[in-house]
């Protein structure tokens, strides 16, 4: 059955209606006459990281502190590999986006003085269960934003190096979308599901990061030749065992300390950075002193109740787990484990290499949120702030970005359509546009995904090696991933739900290949909790630089770049696009 085709044009196209994407749309909605299109692979109502709700606003500048203080904190936590301009510019907007969130209806706890109640240094306490419905409803109230739900973007449309739109398909019906725009903002989130997960069986998707954020935002850019940064700074989160629920609520909320099986507090031996904490738990266990716990035994029954409630607002499976075990947190310590590694620019510095205005290295393309690199510890407010900055910059650049011409893009669109059709044509039948039958693929996308996750786990520093990897292992991973990538080209499905799974796999494979190139390129171990390079086990300060990469003539090239302290603006080579 041929695809039905839908074509649309807009001034600004937003890919991914999550946190940053919805906020970019809301920012642009203030400009009447501007047409904005948001595409979302699910439905913006609850899509992305915020689906289950969040527990706190993790990044807020409290009275007595400044955005520069936040910059110092992030620099320390990330061991120096950050972009000062990016962290500072988002931190400067933390408090204004919180004000707007409160206007939209977010419930924020206040203290006796009327100030927001703090949790730890930078967090404020909220009821974040319905934060995504609040955002998406606000988007629907706008006049100039059109939302295309259930449309999965697969490729950028490009003209002379400029991004001028995107192509995708409906995950519901056999419809292809060709969307042209003067500017494109990518807010498609980070990548989960690259490595064999904590619960590889039935509960394989009980992971921390959304399993539906499949690294497509990165893959789109890599394919189109965008420069990426710091993928090697993977994120390994320290989480509650099995449910992979956040631990901050217990650690900061009731002040529970991390202890090993002998009851010793071990964090002071490893440092208090995010990576140090994760490394502590991994290494204590590796050295035979596990399991490790958050020491909650002895908290009050009132604290028990508050914890059960707090988790219902963000990670309900943890509450259910306490109830299933028949023991409340006051009666049993909460066991900890490290997650499988993710690539997520909202927590570490991985993602698009952008200038201070969130322009990517491809003209006409902007990036914000977990997909954008250089600014770790964004969390919700940083994703919102970046969505706002990217929207402001795209808007300012629009006069120099005319709507692309039609004809020039048709060949690209045809090639994309042909690939969709090939994946949905039964093996051994010639598909449209080709005379020969395509070779059969004996596997399903699920089988190849499992194979990819096994390769990553075995040879690229997954959970089972305690996140350790060597160059010799990375070589094997690289070779195996090439084989899987070749197999994936011939995958077949029967409907666009299958096609979604095929594309998710292809995107993850590409992100894995980039990740391996980055892991190999940084010859030191800077963030031991996120990954341990056994060939180069220590921190080496000659590596105070960024590892960037770009696909050039089909090969991924590494570029080392010096640390950036001041604001930068990208210039693009002249093009007639």
């Amino acid at each position: 059955m041929p695809f039905h085709i839908v074509e649309k044009t807009a001034d600004i196209l937003i890919i991914g209606g999550g946190t940053a994407g919805c906020w970019a749309a809301l920012t642009l909605a203030a400009h009447e006459g501007l047409s904005v299109l948001v595409t979302e692979k699910a439905n913006i109502r609850r899509s992305g990281c915020l689906a289950a709700g969040v527990n706190a606003i993790n990044a807020y500048i409290p009275a007595g502190k400044t955005p520069e203080d936040y910059l110092e904190y992030v620099r320390w936590d990330a061991a120096g590999i950050i972009r000062d301009d990016l962290v500072l510019s988002m931190a400067q907007r933390f408090n204004s986006v919180v004000g707007r969130l409160e206007e939209l209806g977010l419930v924020i706890l206040k203290d006796e003085t009327g100030a927001y109640a703090l949790r730890g240094q930078w967090n404020i306490k909220i009821n974040g269960e319905n934060i995504k419905p609040l955002l998406s409803q606000a988007v629907y109230r706008t006049k100039n934003v059109e939302v295309l739900n259930h449309v999965n973007i697969t490729d950028y449309l490009t003209l002379n190096g400029r991004v001028v739109g995107a192509a995708g398909f409906s995950v519901r019906e056999q419809t292809a979308y060709f969307l042209r725009a003067r500017a494109v903002i990518c807010t498609a989130g980070g990548a989960a599901g690259l490595y064999r997960p904590n619960n590889p069986g039935f509960s394989q998707h009980k992971m921390w990061y959304p399993p539906f954020n499949t690294g497509t935002g990165y893959a789109l850019g890599i394919r189109a030749g965008a420069e990426m940064t710091t993928f090697e700074m993977r994120f390994v989160a320290q989480r509650c065992k099995d449910t992979i629920a956040p631990t901050g609520t217990i650690a900061l909320g009731v002040g529970a300390k991390q202890v090993n099986a002998q009851g010793e507090e071990y964090t002071s031996r490893y440092g208090l950075s995010t990576s140090g904490r994760a490394y502590g738990t991994t290494n204590e266990t590796h050295q035979g002193r596990g399991p490790c716990y958050l020491n909650t035994v002895g908290i009050t029954s009132k604290q028990d109740e508050e914890l059960l409630k707090a988790y219902l607002n963000m990670a309900p499976s943890q509450t259910l787990k306490w109830l299933e075990s028949g023991k409340r947190p006051s009666q049993q310590n909460v066991e900890l484990e490290g997650t499988e590694p993710y690539v997520v620019g909202g927590h570490t510095a991985s993602g698009y290499w952008v200038d201070t205005g969130r322009r990517t290295t491809l003209r006409g393309l902007y990036a914000a949120g977990d997909v954008a690199g250089g600014a770790p510890k964004k969390f919700v407010t940083g994703a919102l702030a970046e969505g706002e900055i990217a929207a402001d910059t795209a808007l300012a650049d629009l006069p120099g970005l005319p709507l692309p011409e039609d004809e020039a893009l048709q060949a690209q669109e045809q090639a994309i359509l042909q690939t969709y059709e090939q994946h949905l044509t039964p093996a051994d039948t010639p598909s449209s546009g080709t005379s020969a039958a395509l070779p059969a693929c004996r596997y399903t996308s699920q089988q190849l995904e499992e194979a990819m996750q096994k390769v990553m786990d075995d040879y690229a520093g997954g959970i089972h090696s305690s996140y350790r990897y060597s160059e010799a292992q990375l070589d094997i991973a690289e070779e195996r991933l090439e084989g899987l990538t070749a197999l994936a080209q011939n995958l077949r499905g029967t409907d666009t739900d299958d096609l979604l799974h095929i594309y998710e796999l292809k995107d993850r494979l590409l992100v894995c290949q980039s990740l391996i190139a980055h892991l190999r390129a940084r010859r030191e171990t800077r963030w031991a909790g996120f990954g341990f390079n056994t060939d180069y086990p220590g921190v080496d300060d000659s590596w105070q630089l960024y590892v960037n990469s770009r696909l050039e003539n089909g090969t991924l090239k590494i570029h080392y770049r010096n640390l950036v302290k001041e604001a930068i603006t990208f210039e693009y080579p002249d093009s007639n696009g």
Binding site: A56, V107, G128, T249, L312, L323
Partner: protein, 104 residues
């Protein structure tokens, strides 16, 4: 990690389909709402919170500590009652008020 849709309670309103961040809930060829990929469920509980008819139940896989309890939600204005029914024993109800922030 997964959910069960109780077909006898489901009114086919489609809200859960729109709530799922992973497009996992779909309409099957018989016209019934079903979870197409049970092993792909993230456990976010968006679908059960959106269902007005208490037709969706959530459970933990045995691989992550499940012992067969089913959890669902009942809405009452700003209150959300989370009801956990163990296979043997009395249900536990925990009520969360949307207007009050987490204490932790």
């Amino acid at each position: 990690m997964s959910i069960l849709i109780q077909t006898d309670k489901c009114r086919n309103c489609g809200r859960c389909i729109e709530a799922c961040p992973g497009n996992l809930i779909q309409v099957n060829p018989q016209g019934k709402v079903w979870l197409r990929h049970p092993e792909e469920c993230w456990g976010c509980t968006s679908c059960l919170k959106e269902c007005q008819f208490e037709a969706i139940y959530f459970y933990l896989g045995a691989d992550i500590g499940g012992r067969g309890s089913l959890m669902h939600t009942r809405r009452e204005g700003d209150l959300c009652h989370w009801i956990v029914e163990p296979p043997d024993g009395r249900p536990v109800v925990i009520t969360v008020d949307r207007r009050s922030a987490n204490k932790y």
